[in-house]
Point group: C2
Chain length 313, copies 2
């Protein structure tokens, strides 16, 4: 089975030489505040600074040699652009990255550092898709979606798999919910490797498309997404949504103030640099602390790529 | 001998239950930039966020029961105030902290959180000493100097001792130089536990009193100390200076821009929060990288207590 236990184990072994096994950190002070035992899986220490490195690596490793020779293409202005570029560079595969011309120069520079070839286009989704199509036709490159791709989903799931290897008795694993790749992969890992473990998501109230999708049973979109958690503005896709619908136990929504408070706690108490998106899961645990009292909870810290000149403090 | 190998081992065992054994981190990217193999001893992850917890704990543990009952007193506006407060609280000893009335409210709040009783006074050294004297006379508390105290020095040296246990073949251990407690302790640990290892210091050009003291052979002072590394403005003392003079191989001075560049590297590449003072040693290694090419170098990251509202980026 494509999403079975053996498949996840295989992916974990396959990508292992190309990624970091990230540490699991704890904080007495944050445990006191949350009233629970929290285990932070620190993907901010992952190569290129985010869990996306896992999925990108797995997607490329699953291509045929012929496909690899022609390269990969994606459209992303965020961490997946950098992840696919670095994974491709490490595996000696060409990477074509479609980015909106409005993307910050710092993000374009990061993609270039990792060897990705950038094509700029207007920032609407149809423009980005059309530009990626043109590159595919010209180069024969394979399109890799940042979150709605089974190889990507399985790759992202290896973070939770490793966390459960280190802490087998977790009651819950929480992760942030953006495009759905991370939480779908996490849910599969929890299902196959957890011991009565639940999978829950944290999502900004300002971009609660996934929460609404679970209510309605179909993929909902965000009209606006005015959140500091800029990695979580994207919507679910037709490949990850069925997995989420079947295996995610609950999504908890949090306000912008709750996200910022949790973000500051992580920075000040744990002395680690994490993206605002990474704080959403902790914000959810603290918001509903009465429910989670004394539980053992894993939290996937999604990444640490922030613009130090634009901090929300 | 009071500064011998057995003494340092004893101190390390004594304080172990009360401190964290901090991790040693590495970064491929920073190694590439420095052209050397760097091992960062991350005291920013220490309890209360700095190595000062070690010395404060050892100083209190070496008091008699009668002395402990009467408490400890120090004057500090920085990490030592918090360290002595928390160590005292953990060991159920009263702590009296003299702070300049100009100290930031955030630092006073941290001391109060850790249970220290603050007495404010004008910020000149005579005022601070007089105020501490008064408290000593009133309470019978023992005065503990933040850096010029042998028990404090030995406590600080345990960071380098642990680092050498993890990485026995270091060619050099670098640490920042402020009041001299850390580098004196580090030099003793390097002498007793290193394997042909040197001890070097990094110091801001703007507060290069220790560099000048090594040149002149007597304790020099800073007329001004206009540096972002605000933990390094203090001067050496008559207890730590002889140790430094005998056992420190060299002090390398760095500019403010070099400190800020190294600080940004640590934040952006290692995703950890460190104080500007902590970046001074890395700045020194990068500044003279030709000399340190391919060496195995330990770097003591002194602490991670920063005001997020006042970052130098």
């Amino acid at each position: 089975m494509k999403t079975g236990k053996a498949q996840l184990e295989k992916v974990s072994k396959l990508i292992q030489p190309h990624i970091h096994r990230t540490p699991v950190l704890t904080s007495h002070l944050i445990n006191e505040i949350a009233g629970a035992d929290l285990y932070f899986k620190c993907e901010n220490f992952q190569r290129m600074g985010a869990f996306k490195m896992r999925g990108a690596t797995n997607a490329i490793l699953n291509l045929s040699e012929e496909q690899k020779a022609k390269g990969v293409v994606t459209h992303s202005s965020g961490n997946f652009a950098q992840a696919l570029s670095l994974a491709a560079k490490s595996l000696e595969v060409p990477a074509y990255i479609v980015m909106p011309d409005s993307a910050p120069e710092v993000k374009k520079a990061a993609v270039r550092t990792y060897g990705g070839e950038i094509t700029e286009c207007p920032s609407t989704l149809p423009d980005r898709e059309r530009t990626a199509d043109e590159i595919q036709q010209r180069t024969g490159a394979t399109f890799i979606h940042p979150s709605n791709d089974l190889d990507v989903i399985l790759g992202q799931g290896t973070a939770a798999l490793e966390l459960l290897e280190d802490e087998p008795d977790l009651d819950i694993i929480f992760c942030p919910v953006g495009g759905g790749g991370l939480i779908a992969g996490t849910a599969l890992a929890v299902k196959h490797f957890g011991n009565n473990c639940k999978c829950m998501g944290g999502e900004p109230l300002e971009a609660d498309d996934a929460w609404r999708s679970l209510q309605s049973g179909k993929i909902e979109t965000n009209e606006t997404a005015n959140t500091v958690a800029d990695g979580l503005k994207t919507q679910l896709g037709d490949i990850n949504f069925p997995i989420i619908l079947e295996h995610v136990d609950e999504i908890v929504r949090v306000s912008e103030d709750e996200i910022k408070t949790a973000l500051r706690l992580i920075w000040e108490r744990m002395k680690i640099i994490v993206e605002p998106s990474s704080a959403v899961a902790l914000a959810a645990v603290i918001k509903e602390k009465e429910r989670f009292k004394n539980k053992k909870i894993g939290i996937i810290i999604s990444g640490g790529n922030v613009d130090l000149a634009k901090l929300p403090f």
